[in-house]
Point group: C2
Chain length 127, copies 2
Amino acid sequence: MQTLTRNQQIVFDIINKSSEPLKAYTILSNVQKKGIKAPPQVYRALDKLIEMGKIHKIESKNAFVACQNSNCKVSKAAAFSICESCEEVTEIDNSKISKYLSSFADKIGMKYKKYNLEFFGLCKKCK
Amino acid sequence: MQTLTRNQQIVFDIINKSSEPLKAYTILSNVQKKGIKAPPQVYRALDKLIEMGKIHKIESKNAFVACQNSNCKVSKAAAFSICESCEEVTEIDNSKISKYLSSFADKIGMKYKKYNLEFFGLCKKCK
DNA sequence: TACATAATGTTATTTTATAACAATAAACTT
DNA sequence: AAGTTTATTGTTATAAAATAACATTATGTA
């Protein structure tokens, strides 16, 4: 278990506390009181946290969430459901999807590394 | 089968001819000789083409590819394998994945609309 | 034709992300 | 502990991606 540097910890904490995906510049404005002043400081922390599997990027939203799934520490693979009405983003337990996709990778002759799945629709509440 | 407007056709043609995903500003610089001068013209065409299912956006690359899969006209769902070495992007036949994911949606109580899957690794040639 | 709707053209701006380089801090080596 | 290397941080400036806002032109249709 890797320990986080000062900036990484600050950025991780704010993402981890949030109930929704946060954008890089939202993070920036929330950590300026803690001494992080410029975008590169945030983006560098984000990059490292992604590498470690502590957070994921929701590509379709340019936003970041804490990993909800201990598997991701290893697999760096993530799947999200995104509600088009209330914008709720939930990380899906990816063990089955992972299994399915790695067998799929075998079949097409690809060496599997990771994947990102974003799944749009209406959540239980909104539908 | 919807017919394309002038700008939509110009933008679609250049994406369709390309062997790799194209970025919006690359498209722009390639269509300036055809009279498309500003980003909004390109982005508007891209938006419509995506709506129609004629192209897809590769979110992790901010780039656009023509749909290789006639299903997408309907489903607006797409899956791509992306080689981290040669950068080759291939659209995966998504009928099985689609089926799998819509049953998954049922299980978690979500109304399925579409998904985007990006699948990273090393392709046949590079591995 | 007259009206409504969709598509286009244009300028400016916002949002997202990185390049480049200087300064510190942490880890490693002898 | 002193010196060396490596990683992290701080800072300024800029690049890259996307959209807002509004004027204009084209297209469909009653």
